[in-house]
Symmetry: C2
Subunit: 239 residues, 2 copies
């Protein structure tokens, strides 16, 4: 059976302006791969409601699961939760369970929940909360969409809370071979190996180090025997 | 006059599988911002022709410029040039100017151009070449689409070749203020400042360091006076 598919939607002007280097995409890609979920598309959009809603609706219809990062804090530019509610056509309001979780983060409890902080307890109707052990303010899941914070430490904690909710497939096995030759020197034999072992996906990734070019070959397959045979064939190119 | 807009299309299974951490998005975002071009959307897709063609056609119709990275090397999984030709409905073949540039990278000249290397001289009809001072194999421009390599050193060199082709607007001026308070403690006064200075875009970016939360406030505007006034108002929140 094919692995479930996923997409990621990164939300935030700070990524598109070049101010912040996104770290969450790389983290999520690795965790999904290990969990047997195929990440198939990533989109990055700014803090514009129409862009967020349109991207979310395309992604959630096309892929099995969608993970979002960013825009669920307490400030005026945090509009993700409202956009999710709009995309699903449901209401959104402060919810008792989210308020209780949030209050547990402050010494005065509910009395410390200013109106700004209460924004973080606004949850779309029908969603369930995603635990945030780092700073309490919860993420949430609505159908196949998992809404998480953009701060990397919080995002990563929420990913660990969300992954057990998803039934993954078999993680692909992979092998990699480093070849100290330029990519064009191995392209032809590599194409032959790829056509000989159709169950093995073979990627070729050139790199430059100390002024010389080399190529990393990555082989991936769910079939151990084919993977080993193809890997041996690639290793023979390295000598 | 509003700045021109841009999108980026990152192509490659290695990003989605979590094997490679993309570095090109952050680099391009910063360079475009400095050039007065607003990066509005990024998409990452795998080495699947249908996905590449569909994403490219959506992005090139929606935004003024589209920059792609990845998939223009010599191996079987490098299908970007063919996908660009398909998206534009034009032919693609080895072209004399690209072959000459490529040959200059090898001691034997044209005689060293194996069929794998010649793949890198296949250019869609009507495109003009983008100079690659690092490893010669050229990128290309077709209408509003700039097709560049995925290896960061080559990508960055190609960006510098492509940017002068684009008339940018005024780079936004920006100021940033670090506040050692949680985001929810400044959310309300910040919303007030944002509504007082509508020409200033104000972003709020929480961070966690040494176990404590703080907030970076970034203000951006093309209007110096409003930017200064809003920045002073934000600084007053920091004390």
């Amino acid at each position: 059976m094919a692995n479930p598919t996923a997409a990621m939607l990164v939300i935030g002007d700070e990524i598109l302006s070049g101010r912040t280097r996104d770290a969450n995409m790389y983290h999520l890609a690795g965790r999904l791969n290990a969990h047997g979920v195929d990440l198939r598309e990533v989109r990055v959009v700014g803090d514009e409601a129409a862009d967020i809603v349109a991207a979310l609706n395309e992604l959630r219809r096309r892929w099995n699961h969608v993970f979002t990062s960013g825009g669920i804090g307490p400030t005026h530019d945090d509009i993700t939760a409202d956009c999710i509610a709009e995309a699903f056509g449901v209401g959104i309001d402060v919810r008792d369970d989210a308020r209780a979780v949030l209050a547990s983060n402050y010494p005065g409890g509910v009395a410390d929940l200013t109106s700004a902080r209460l924004r973080m307890a606004r949850i779309p109707d029908g969603a369930s909360l995603i635990d945030n052990p780092v700073s309490k303010a919860p993420g949430f899941q609505l159908e196949n969409v998992y809404v998480m914070a953009g701060v990397p430490s919080v995002f990563e904690a929420m990913v660990e809370s969300a992954l057990p909710l998803i039934t993954g497939g078999a993680p692909l096995m992979s092998e990699s071979v480093r070849i100290d030759k330029g990519e064009s020197d191995v392209a032809e034999p590599l194409a032959l190996i790829a056509s000989t072992y159709p169950s093995v996906s073979i990627g070729s990734y050139p790199f430059q180090r100390d002024g010389r070019f080399g190529t990393n070959i990555v082989l991936r397959s769910a079939d151990r025997d084919s993977l080993d045979a193809a890997t041996n064939a690639v290793r023979a190119l390295a000598v």
